[in-house]
């Protein structure tokens, strides 16, 4: 039997060859999740819908760059959707530039325990590990990822030297890996 993940990868290989039915099937199976990805970054529905369109057009055009030996199809799709949504943020000049507090007391803005039951195993594990970081580091990583902020953007927003931000996030990433592996 073919697992969902495997068959999604096979489907993407068909899309690469220009198979429209396979493309429709990929959309049918993944658009709910990917729309959630776009909405997380672009809360205005119309903008999220536009990003979703761009994302699937990229799927159609760039299915040849998907390499099943290099990662899961779902991760590839989510990454692509996130990138299109961030592109749209940038194009609209909406990359967050609001000053940011980095005080240690800052609570993680995303309490995730209540909804964890709906998460996949990987998602729950990541949420758990982010929760162990403490000191506002989880919030910092989330802000960077969902706002499309690079080290340079974050340093500007927090009015801190680039090196300070960088070493703080790097420490958090290493702790994250330790927890996840």
């Amino acid at each position: 039997m073919i697992s969902d993940t495997e068959s999604l990868a096979l489907m993407l290989q068909k899309v690469r060859d220009g198979d429209r039915l396979a493309f429709e099937e990929v959309y049918r199976r993944t658009s709910v999740k990917l729309f959630g990805v776009c909405l997380r970054i672009l809360p205005i529905r119309q903008e999220a819908e536009e990003a979703l369109q761009e994302a699937y057009l990229s799927v159609w055009q760039r299915a040849n760059t998907f390499d099943a030996s290099r990662g899961s199809a779902m991760t590839w799709l989510i990454t692509l959707a996130r990138n299109r949504a961030i592109d749209r943020l940038r194009a609209k000049g909406k990359i967050a530039s609001a000053p940011m507090e980095l005080a240690d007391e800052v609570a993680d803005p995303e309490p995730d325990a209540p909804s964890r039951i709906e998460m996949s195993q990987d998602e729950a594990r990541l949420a758990h590990c982010l929760g162990t970081l403490g000191g506002g580091d989880a919030g910092l990583i989330r802000t960077a990822f969902f706002d499309g902020s690079t080290y340079a953007d974050l340093a500007a927003r927090a009015s801190l030297p680039l090196g300070t931000i960088k070493s703080r996030i790097r420490r958090a990433l290493l702790r994250l890996r330790e927890c996840l592996s």
Partner: protein
């Protein structure tokens, strides 16, 4: 098993996956993915972690999103067909019936070839040939008069009506009106659609209740699509 990456490399893979680096640093890290297996593996792992940040189960987008995506697929793009083949097709099937519409169309398996024979009108008219699983619709539009003609063949929708839409780059369909299935029709294009009509835009036919979509947006499936081309 592979040996663990040096800490700096591991972090670079994470930074690339989380979008923390930009410019030359990012480009260099990306280039490394293609030649450093271990680094690529670490990056893939971090991408999985990054993807798991989206733990929201998501929600269904409106059906119009798929309609717009499908309409923008490049396979609908008649401009991709080389000029030579347009000419060949034009010579091969210059039938009188098709000339009535100012369009000669010939359908090949999964491909449509369009040839527009004579068009010296002052404000270049436009034509589109719409194809799908079954049936064929031709649309011509004259900007000078704001009028269009449309004709369908091989289309049978029973208790439903085919509605024509123009879908410009913004992806929002504007109705061009309901068309007749039984005979070619002439009509004025609604002003909201006129401003969206230009060479290269997508034209689509959706299945709607008799009288047209009650919402102003396609409510039924899109069955035919094509691109407007300048008839010069």
């Amino acid at each position: 098993m592979t040996t663990p990456l040096p800490e700096d490399d591991e972090l670079l893979a994470a930074e690339l996956a989380f979008g923390l680096i930009d410019g030359a640093e990012r480009d260099a890290a990306r280039a490394r993915l293609t030649r450093d297996e271990d680094f690529a593996r670490a990056h893939a792992r971090w991408q999985d972690y990054a993807a798991a940040m989206f733990h929201d189960p998501g929600e269904a987008p409106r059906p119009s999103v798929w309609t717009a995506i499908e309409a923008r697929l490049p396979a609908n793009d008649v401009a991709r067909i080389s000029p030579l083949r347009w000419w060949q097709a034009g010579a091969a099937v210059a039938s009188a019936a098709a000339l009535v519409l100012g369009v000669v169309a010939m359908q090949k398996p999964a491909q449509v070839i369009v040839r527009v024979p004579v068009a010296q009108a002052p404000a270049a008219p436009m034509v589109a040939v719409l194809t799908g699983k079954t049936g064929l619709v031709t649309v011509s539009y004259d900007p000078a008069t704001g009028r269009m003609t449309s004709a369908a063949s091989g289309l049978s929708l029973g208790e439903h009506a085919p509605e024509l839409w123009v879908i410009p780059a913004d992806g929002k369909p504007r109705s061009m009106g309901v068309m007749k299935v039984s005979a070619p029709g002439w009509g004025k294009v609604p002003s909201a659609a006129v401003s969206a009509l230009s060479a290269g835009v997508t034209i689509a036919v959706s299945v709607e209740p008799i009288g047209g979509s009650p919402t102003g947006l396609p409510t039924g499936p899109v069955i035919l699509t094509g691109k407007m081309a300048e008839a010069t």
